[in-house]
């Protein structure tokens, strides 16, 4: 999933370089994917009670 996240950022950057205005929507999609990866990594079911 991390590769897809970077792929979205790369596509957005290339589109921005070509002056495409809606490129930022791909960045938002990448950030949402990043939040999903982050939530999976935190593993709330085992860590939340101990670390917070």
């Amino acid at each position: 999933m991390m590769t897809v996240t970077y792929g979205l950022l790369a596509a957005a950057s290339v589109l921005l370089w070509r002056r495409v205005r809606w490129a930022w929507t791909l960045v938002m999609a990448a950030l949402i994917l990043g939040i999903v990866i982050f939530m999976q990594d935190v593993d709330f079911s085992t860590n939340l009670g101990i670390q917070l």
Partner: protein
């Protein structure tokens, strides 16, 4: 010109260009660190880089199209994600007497070693906390000057072709990150051992 119009659009573009170059410099530094110490980035490290690329993208939008609150919004949302991730990673390693594999306290200070080599005394995730906090502060302060959101005068364009070059470098960097991340993780979860184990090369 009223007092709150002190920051004109062309000057704001130059400041955003400097910010873009700074973020590119940090990302390149992380790349050099990765290959010189032969340590592949962990999941949380990768997420901080994602946030850095996204912050740079927000600045790049200001450079390409002129300053706009929505472009600064991309910077702020990205920096908030990066700050959350870097704080999480810093807290994971803040207590050396905590065994992360069992989730229990131990008597050994080596049970929870820091991730990676320190740079100028601080580990990269601590630098991440400072960097994203500074981005949020700077973007917040710069947005106070509403004069930058007016129409740009083309004769005052100080950047000219440099804008495309800067954004082009960002695009190249993002493509390179995609390729190296694919080589490291493929389409599965990235390894978190900090070693030199590329998924693509077995």
């Amino acid at each position: 010109m009223s007092r709150d119009e002190g920051l004109l659009p062309d000057l704001a573009r130059v400041l955003n260009f400097i910010g873009l170059l700074a973020m590119i410099g940090v990302l390149l530094g992380a790349y050099v660190y990765q290959f010189s110490y032969r340590e592949l980035p962990c999941t949380l490290c990768q997420l901080q880089r994602v946030a850095m690329v996204a912050v740079a993208f927000g600045a790049a939008m200001n450079v390409m199209f002129g300053p706009d609150p929505r472009h600064y919004g991309v910077c702020l949302v990205s920096a908030l994600l990066g700050l959350g991730v870097s704080i999480r990673q810093s807290l994971l390693h803040i207590n050396p007497y905590f065994d992360t594999t069992t989730g229990l306290p131990t008597s050994l200070a080596t049970s929870n070693p820091p991730f990676g080599q320190p740079v100028m005394g601080l580990h990269l995730y601590v630098w991440g906390v400072l960097l994203f906090a500074v981005v949020i502060l700077v973007v917040g302060v710069v947005q106070l000057f509403k004069g930058q959101f007016g129409a740009m005068r083309s004769e005052l364009d100080r950047l000219s072709g440099l804008a495309s070059v800067g954004v082009g470098i960002l695009a190249l960097l993002a493509v390179a990150e995609t390729l190296t991340t694919f080589a490291e993780c493929g389409f599965v979860d990235c390894p978190n051992d900090g070693g030199w184990n590329w998924w693509l090369f077995g």
